[in-house]
């Protein structure tokens, strides 16, 4: 897919299964919305094909596809009330009035908006508008429902509720959901399959657990959860060397002496007294996070993020142990060296970038 000669999507090869909840996950500008719009029929790819039940639908306009969309910020019709919004597609299809009324009532029940049929759109809260948008799409009984960041405009608590709600609806209706989000937590908690995208390419496809536990490269490791990513060398199967030490690990199948990226999740690291540790470092900052502390530890000038329930004060010398199953080895990629160093880490910085993401979308 290209816009003005600029390549937006490259080598996208995706299969969607029936009844699947699939999420396209990636930072803004990664091409996930473009992918969704191609599936919806609002964009025609400059090359490549979109197949639906084995038939190419490149030239099928959106109004003839058995696909419906829940748009960013809902795109409800302001001149119609709740009932007429939901009935819109059925009216266009010229279904009998009785059937329309029955199906709309049904959908109102599914999304929990009984009694709201004659409310005006402007009088609904964000969450209610969201439900109307979902009902408006689902009432047409599409084979696939596309959801473009449907929860982005909701506040945190409402977002959690709607996540559960969406999952419930998807399971109840048995429809394929293709869900676009930049929120990794949302993706992990709702999806059957997660597709991590960046720079118009698919970085990894897999079940949420696999994506989290076995990230394919530094980008995925960093984007999904927090990761300390270090340069290492794979000496042989199950032996990796970094920070001048050889560690046991569970990974095999790399070339001897291959340079690799080593991922260590912050929550997998255990503190031990300085003398007993594989590595010894100094605590440079401590942030209380509720469930745990985020502790930044300086190991020979390389700063690690460690999440722990034990408190260690700033300036304290600590030791850590790494178990073989806590160490994950990845091949080097174009993302190597870009992520995984917490030298400039701060809680505020993280929030700021997240806000910026929201605004862009």
């Amino acid at each position: 897919m290209e816009f003005d000669g600029e390549r937006i999507l490259d080598g996208i090869n995706l299969y969607f299964n029936d009844h699947e909840f699939l999420t396209l996950l990636g930072p803004s500008g990664c091409g996930k919305t473009t992918t969704l719009r191609i599936i919806g029929g609002f964009l025609t790819p400059t090359s490549g094909r979109v197949l639906f039940d084995g038939n190419c639908i490149n030239d099928v306009p959106p109004y003839q596809r058995q696909i419906n969309t829940v748009f960013q910020r809902y795109a409800l019709f302001p001149h119609l009330n709740v009932y007429d919004n939901i009935a819109f597609g059925l009216n266009v299809a010229k279904l009998p009035k009785a059937e329309i009324s029955q199906r709309v009532e049904e959908m109102l029940e599914v999304v929990g908006l009984q009694g709201f049929a004659h409310r005006h759109i402007d009088s609904l809260s964000g969450g209610q508008q969201q439900r109307v948008a979902i009902a408006r799409a689902l009432v047409n009984r599409p084979k696939v429902l596309l959801l473009d960041e449907p929860l982005a405009a909701l506040d945190l608590r409402l977002r959690k509720d709607m996540q559960n709600e969406l999952k419930r609806i998807q399971q109840a209706m048995g429809i394929t959901f293709i869900y676009v989000t930049h929120d990794q937590e949302e993706a992990l908690s709702m999806s059957d399959t997660v597709v991590v995208m960046d720079k118009g390419r698919i970085q990894q496809i897999g079940r949420p657990e696999d994506i989290y536990n076995e990230p394919k490269n530094a980008f995925v490791a960093d984007f999904i959860g927090e990761s300390n990513i270090l340069d290492g060398v794979m000496l042989s199967d199950y032996k990796v060397k970094f920070f001048g030490r050889v560690f046991d690990c569970v990974d095999a199948g790399f070339a001897p002496n291959e340079p690799v990226d080593v991922v260590i999740r912050p929550e997998d690291i255990d503190f031990v007294p300085a003398g007993e540790g594989h590595l010894v470092g100094t605590v440079t900052s401590v942030t209380f996070k509720g469930l745990n502390y985020d502790i930044i530890v300086d190991f020979r000038g390389f700063k690690w993020l460690i999440q722990t329930t034990d408190y260690h004060g700033e300036g304290e010398t600590v030791g850590i142990r790494l178990n073989p199953e806590d160490i994950h080895i990845m091949h080097k990629s174009e993302y190597s060296g870009m992520f995984g160093d917490y030298s400039s880490y701060s809680a505020e910085y993280d929030e700021l970038t997240e806000d910026a993401d929201n605004e862009e979308e």
Partner: protein
């Protein structure tokens, strides 16, 4: 500060609405004088609704306004959607281009449209009458379009572009999505644009004036030709109604907008507004009905198999049935049932001249004044008359035949005539001084003398005084006239035209040369005023005469009309309304005695014999005289 602001806004409101208040008051006034409110009455409204011509004109204006608004709103909306889909830089450029016609002076738009229509109609399609209802409609649509686009664009920009996608996602084709969703979103802009276009169209004069033919005239164009006589108060009544119509339209629009905004803010209101929906439907229905009626009306119009005779006359220069007179057009149509008279008006000889020379019109009969007839003859704009078709020509008195402007009387038949004499106030002016044009040069009345503020009449008086021909082209004679006028200048209080009425009636000046018919009216208002024609000198006898212009299509019918007007009974009835002299033998017998016996309007024959009418002057002489007069005025 706030107080000052409030005072200012009140002042501005007064400033804006006082003229309308005066007009509304005048429309309920029993008296005809605007300055004094004599009593409350609905008579003007009754008279307005009795005047079917005026109502027909109002109907024309409304028809054009509604049709052009409906079409411009439809086209403008589609155009706006098209412009909106362009890339931003292109969009900006196109918007600038669409806005230019709005800032363009109307007169430029009017003239260029007129040129275009005549070029295409007459030049390319060979139509005789290329300016007509359709050109007027096209012109109105043209100048209405930018207002619609300007109002619809912001609504398109405000609209969430995903709405269109959502509609398509739910099964609408792009066109259906436009009608089911986009249209609703931009409706407020369309309504605002339509109302603006409607009001612009309803009151447009300048552009309409240049692009309309004689068969279809709108109200503003017609009213402009009412300037020859004071405006009838029923016109005030009509303006009041028009003002109220537009006022109600604007207020409704603003209220609906206000309600729409409030609905968006107020989340508690649950039901969709029905008012807006009803309003939209009403507008849609009105537009449709107007379109259907308009087309039907035009088809009926174009189907009639009668001859149409296009007559162009001065404003209020034919008896029309008001004030107890006879409706002469109706009488003519009754006498010749196969002829339909299409009557239109002009305000000055020069206006008539420019309309005819611009081309694109079919006009069968005109009634210009003497010097203009001479000019038109010299420019081959008139056709020689077939006097075999005008037997009543024998009724025209010899005094008015073979005048300087048409020496062999081939092109014109006199319609009315009048004289230029001196009006004076007997209370201040010594009767012994009242002899000839000398009175205007009498040192005794220094500062109480008024003089014509137009070169032809001013020089005419000097020429009569010095005994030269009023049509002289001798530059030495003209210089002598200029010297005489310069000599008179210190005695003159002011050079005037219409202001003469107030000055003389209120006795702020004592002596003035003016036209006999007007003198008669001044004398009605001040009993000290007298009118006389110089005893031994010559004076101007002006004549308006019926002529057939080169663009005539129905010459025989036009000659029938001329013949009809030469009937003494008809001419007499006509003069009762227009208060000029009739050139027809025996016409006085059919007039009001008051007019027939007035020596102001009908001086004795021996005096009349000294009258001389204006003839043709070459253009270089006209300009020479104008320059001399300018010098006189400036010294």
């Amino acid at each position: 500060m706030r107080k000052t602001n409030r005072i200012f806004s009140v002042l501005i409101f007064i400033f804006l609405y006082i003229p309308m208040a005066v007009l509304i008051l005048a429309s309920f006034n029993t008296g005809k004088n605007i300055a004094i409110f004599e009593g409350f009455t609905f008579d003007q409204y009754k008279e307005l609704f009795r005047d079917r011509d005026l109502l027909a004109l109002l109907g024309n204006s409304l028809l054009i306004a509604i049709l052009s608004t409906a079409i411009a709103t439809a086209f403008g909306t589609f155009a706006a959607v098209g412009i909106h889909s362009l890339k931003p830089r292109m969009r900006k450029a196109v918007m600038t281009l669409t806005n230019i016609p709005m800032t363009n002076p109307d007169i430029v738009t009017g003239i260029s449209l007129s040129l275009l229509f005549v070029f295409i109609g007459t030049g390319m399609l060979g139509q005789k009458q290329s300016l007509n209802f359709w050109t007027l409609l096209i012109a109105h649509i043209t100048f209405n379009l930018p207002y619609v686009i300007l109002n619809v664009m912001p609504k398109l920009q405000q609209m969430n572009p995903a709405l269109q996608d959502a509609a398509m996602d739910l099964g609408c084709t792009p066109v259906k999505a436009f009608f089911k969703v986009t249209l609703h979103e931009i409706m407020p802009g369309m309504v605002a644009g339509a109302i603006m276009a409607f009001t612009m169209s309803l009151d447009d004069f300048v552009i309409s004036y240049f692009v309309t033919g004689t068969e279809f005239v709108t109200l503003p164009v017609k009213i402009y030709s009412f300037t020859k006589k004071p405006i009838h108060p029923k016109i005030y009544a009509m303006f009041t109604l028009l003002f109220l119509l537009i006022f109600v339209l604007m207020v409704t629009m603003n209220l609906l907008q206000l309600r729409g905004d409030k609905r968006k803010q107020d989340r508690r209101i649950k039901m969709a507004s029905r008012g807006m929906r009803v309003f939209r439907r009403a507008i849609a229905i009105i537009c449709t009905v107007a379109l259907i009626c308009g087309s039907a009306f035009l088809i009926i119009r174009s189907r009639k198999d009668k001859i149409t005779l296009n007559v162009m006359n001065w404003g209020q220069n034919i008896a029309d049935g008001s004030d107890g007179t006879i409706d002469l057009i109706a009488a003519f149509e009754e006498a010749y049932p196969y002829i339909d008279v299409n009557y239109s008006e002009y305000a000055s000889n020069e206006e008539l001249y420019s309309k005819l020379s611009n081309g694109g019109l079919v006009v069968d009969l005109i009634i210009p004044s003497d010097y203009m007839i001479a000019r038109m003859i010299s420019e081959d704009m008139l056709l020689p008359l077939d006097f075999g078709n005008i037997p009543n020509y024998k009724n025209v008195m010899d005094t008015y035949k073979d005048q300087a402007y048409d020496p062999e009387n081939q092109y014109s038949v006199p319609y009315t005539w009048g004289t230029v004499g001196i009006i004076y106030n007997a209370k201040y002016v010594d009767e012994a001084d009242v002899t000839g044009w000398d009175l205007l040069w009498n040192e005794k009345y220094k500062g109480q003398i008024l003089m014509f503020d137009n070169s032809r009449d001013a020089f005419g008086i000097a020429q009569y005084k010095l005994g030269y021909s009023v049509n002289t082209t001798d530059k030495e004679e003209l210089q002598a006239c200029a010297d005489a006028l310069s000599a008179q200048r210190p005695l003159v209080q002011q050079y005037v035209m219409d202001q003469v009425y107030a000055k003389m009636e209120e006795e702020n000046a004592w002596i003035a040369p003016y036209y006999a018919g007007d003198a008669m009216m001044m004398m009605e208002n001040n009993e000290n005023l007298r009118f006389y024609l110089p005893e031994n000198e010559s004076f101007n006898l002006f004549i308006d005469a019926m002529c057939i212009p080169y663009c005539c299509q129905e010459k025989a019918a036009a000659e029938l009309f001329i013949d009809f007007m030469c009937n003494p009974e008809i001419s007499g009835a006509n003069m009762d309304y227009i208060c000029y002299g009739s050139p027809i033998e025996g016409a006085t017998e059919y007039m009001d005695e008051y007019l027939a016996e007035s020596e102001v309007i009908y001086p004795p024959a021996e005096i009349l014999e000294r009258g001389e009418s204006y003839g043709f002057l070459p253009e270089d002489i006209t300009r020479y005289v104008e320059n001399l007069f300018l010098q006189v005025r400036l010294n």
